[in-house]
Structure formats: C-alpha cells, structure tokens
Symmetry: C2
Subunit: 252 residues, 2 copies
DNA sequence: TCAAAAGTGTTGGAAGTACACCCATGT
DNA sequence: ACATGGGTGTACTTCCAACACTTTTGA
C-alpha cells in the first residue's frame, strides 16, 4: 500500500440540507451552494468543500470546511459516497469524499449570504460544477429513503417540538401528506419521542403537547463503528432485527 | 479545490465474500486475505488492496487489483465506505476507499492459494493490519442487512438454482433457519425469480424446480447513478415507493 | 412402504391505511 | 357558536410467522 503521494487530489465536499419556506410558503428542502472563484468551473455554483488536511480525519475536514465557508455547524453529518471517476474534473484527477448534513432552520440563517453563497431549492438547481448535480440527486435520494426508517427528522428541529412540526418535516422531505392520526401513533410506538409535559399556547385551537427526543437513537450516527451499536440500541419494542443500511445506520 | 498532491496516500481495498463449507460442512461466509510483505504491519493478514491508478476510476482500480492479487472477478461489487482517520496507518497518512464484493463458489476456487493468500471464516479472523477488522465487521453487517431487502443472494449462485439453494444462501448469511414454505412464497411474490421449466433429478426425493433470475433487479447496482433507477425497476407488484438501498445504498 | 425433501393450505397476529369522530382553544 | 387543528377509536387490509398437510421421488 502506498505511502507516497499519488498525484491525485483529495477533497471533501458536503451536501447541506435545511428546511425553508418555498414560494408558496410551504416548507421544502433547500441547500446552500458556493460560487467558485477559480478554475475549473470558474463562477459556477458548487458544493462547499476543500482539500483534506493532513492532520484531520475526513469528517473533521468536512466540519471545519463547512464552518469556514458557510459558518454552519450541522446537527447531523454522515458520509455519503466517494466520487472518483477519472474525468470528473478537467485537467486534474480529483477524488472527493462527499458528506451530507442536516441543519436546523435557525442555524441555517447563520449562513453568511452574499454574492458567493446562496440557498437553492434542492429540486431546482442550476448546472453545477463537476458532477455535483449527480451528487445532490443522490444525497436527496438518501435523505428521503433514510427518513422512512430512521429518526433523522429530528435533526431539522429544536429541542422541543410538536407532533405537527415533526410531521411537517416528514411531509416536506417526502413531498406527500401524511395522516396525522397514524403519524402520531407510529411516532409514539417507536419510543423515539416522549412528551415534555408542556404545551404550546396561543394558537387558535387546542394547545398541542410538546415532545422531546428520548435519545434512544443517536443523531450523529456517522461511521461504521457506531452504526450497528446505535441501530441495536434503537430497537425499542422489538428484539434484535438489524435495522437499516448505512453506517450511521446504515443504510437501509 | 486542490489539484496538487496532498501527501495523503490514496488506496482501494476490497472485502470479498464467498460461501464455503465450514468445519461442520454447513455453508458459511468466508473471505480471502493477503499477507503483507512490507511495512507497516509486515506479515500481518490484510484485505487485498493497492494504490489508485491515475488513469482508473475507483471501482476500476478495485477490480484490477482484485484480479492481480487474487485472480477473482466478482459478480457483485459495491463501494462500502471511505476510511480516513488520521492514525489508521502508522507514520503515513492513508485514505482507503473500501469496496465489498461477492463471488460464486466456483469462482472462489480460482483464488491462487499459497503462503500469502488464504481463506478465513468471516466471523473468526486474526488480528488484521490497519483498521481492517473494523472494516470487515462493517462489511459483514452491510451484507446481512442488504440480504433482507435486496436480491444480492443471487450473486452467490450460478445461472440456475433451486429454491433450497437460494434459501441456503440466505440461511448461511443470516445465520438462522428460514421456513421453506414462507421463503418460497416471498421469493415468488417478489417477481425476482422465475422457473426455467427444468428440474433436478437424481436426488432421493421429489425433483425440485430450477429457477433463474428474472433480471428485474440488476446485480451490479454499485454507485449513486444506477442506484435509484434499479430500485424503481425492482418494484414489480407495487407502484412506486422508493425501495431500499443504499446505492447501494446506501449504506439504508 | 418408508424416508426425505418439494410444495400447498390455513390460521393468527402485527403493522399500516383510511376515515369517522370527539376535544380544547381563540375569536 | 363555530372554525381550527389536536387527539382518539375503529374497521379493513396486507404482510409475515408458524405449522399441518399433501406430493413425488429413490431406496
């Protein structure tokens, strides 16, 4: 195995998702992109990213780069895939380890907006640099798939939340309405949430209960090591069927 | 993004799984390891792997390396994870893109056995080089998880097979007995297999039908691009709920 | 005729879906 | 009072696990 540098560039990039209201005011999935200020793909929009530092793990590099370019500290960060096709960058050979991240709405507003950083609706992107359109598409698919068997929706929310808010997250990501009654029962049966005892007053209707995450399922389940342990601990009512994929969980 | 070489070594490694009879004669999961012939971890057993070639994609590098070191051409190959912790290799910084592969029993015998290549039972490995024990554990978890929602078992079998053989693969991987009656119905209902019309004669019992894979689900679903397409095509009876994957995925 | 594995039928429970209905609040 | 979501009850369906039972072969 090689210790020598290979002439292959190594970078990390991150697909960051947040929920923001779209034109109609309904919450939908958005992501921040940065404008490239050098060749190749000068002036094109691209995923935030940069080189892997010698003294940092891949994930640490992703986190640092995110903080530097967007000021964001995601509540959820997981490796997505390593992209390494020969022709994905003109002239040079570039391998990108791509992560995907979720941030809360309040956090999302921290993004230093300007000419070179902007939010885009995830389903309607311009032509991006490199193979980044493909990467986003894949990350979106992963987000939606994982939403169905995992508890990542909480990464979009604060400490406390109503069931309607939680359902709103699911609906925004999955892009389909969910039955409030059934959604409630599924969440309660999963053991992932518990009522805080508080309610929200001020609405012109019955005050909804507030819930919190029980912590039975860890949010930051990135990496193969923690993965299976977390998945096993997450099994609340059932015995010991392996859950989903990817590391963090997997993966499905 | 960096075009310059970074001083970080970049390698591919592969976890190869095959089914072979264990001590008791029952089929179980094995994998081939190679003995290291240089530092670090001189003489330790390790996953087959090597540097990424400048002119090859990551997957192509994995395939070529597999052919060179073990003569194997897997029927299934999918990216597992990128490992890049700072201290995973002493002295040097090494990032490994790890793939996992499945090979058929006949193919498995091709492995050029010798002092430096040997098969090991996947559940009982010695202390491996680098973080390879962790990697194998993760790959095993992924194999078992994916077996439950995907059709990868076929990668272990030939063109035609009986339901008992297919069930044997599942049982070996999942390490638990399955009800023949229910297993049959699940497979038939999935639309993934169809009878060839032939039967196997010569057993001292009722001749079982032979089945073939319908091709509704592609085996080689590695990579984000093909992933979702494959998953959609796999939906035989039902309309259009996103399936599983991990592009593999995804890792789930 | 018997053993052994292939293959079919039947039943009961878990979990998801659809939808009717009651509850608590602000206006 | 009534509109608006919060929250409960319930029937229907679909899927899965268990297991009894029948079929077809070789010995």
């Amino acid at each position: 195995m090689p210790a020598a540098a290979s002439g292959i560039g190594l970078a990390v990039s991150t697909v960051i998702f947040a929920l923001r209201p779209d034109d109609a005011g309904a919450p939908s999935v958005w992501l921040p992109l940065v404008r490239r200020i050098r060749e190749p793909f000068l002036h094109r929009w691209a995923l935030p990213g940069g080189p892997v530092a010698l003294s940092e793990s891949l994930e640490a590099s992703a986190r640092r780069n995110l903080l530097e370019t967007t000021r964001l500290q995601p509540t959820y960060l997981e490796q997505l895939y390593a992209f390494g096709d020969v022709d994905r960058s003109p002239d040079s050979r570039l391998v990108s380890i791509v992560y995907w991240a979720l941030v809360r709405p309040e956090e999302a507003e921290r993004v230093s907006l300007g000419e070179n950083v902007r939010w885009f609706p995830a389903d309607d992107l311009p032509d991006l640099a490199f193979d980044h359109n493909l990467i986003v598409e894949y990350a979106l698919w992963r987000l939606r798939t994982k939403m169905e068997y995992s508890r990542i929706a909480h990464a979009f929310l604060g400490e406390q939340f109503t069931l309607a808010e939680l359902r709103g997250v699911h609906e925004a990501v999955l892009q389909k309405p969910l039955d409030p009654a059934n959604f409630r029962r599924q969440m309660e049966a999963s053991g992932a949430i518990e009522p805080t005892g508080d309610v929200v007053v001020g609405g012109r209707h019955r005050p909804p209960k507030l819930y919190r995450y029980t912590g039975a399922v860890s949010l930051a389940d990135a990496g193969p090591l923690t993965a299976r342990v977390v998945a096993a601990a997450a099994q609340h009512p059932r015995p010991a069927t392996d859950d989903a994929p990817h590391p963090q969980e997997d993966a499905r």
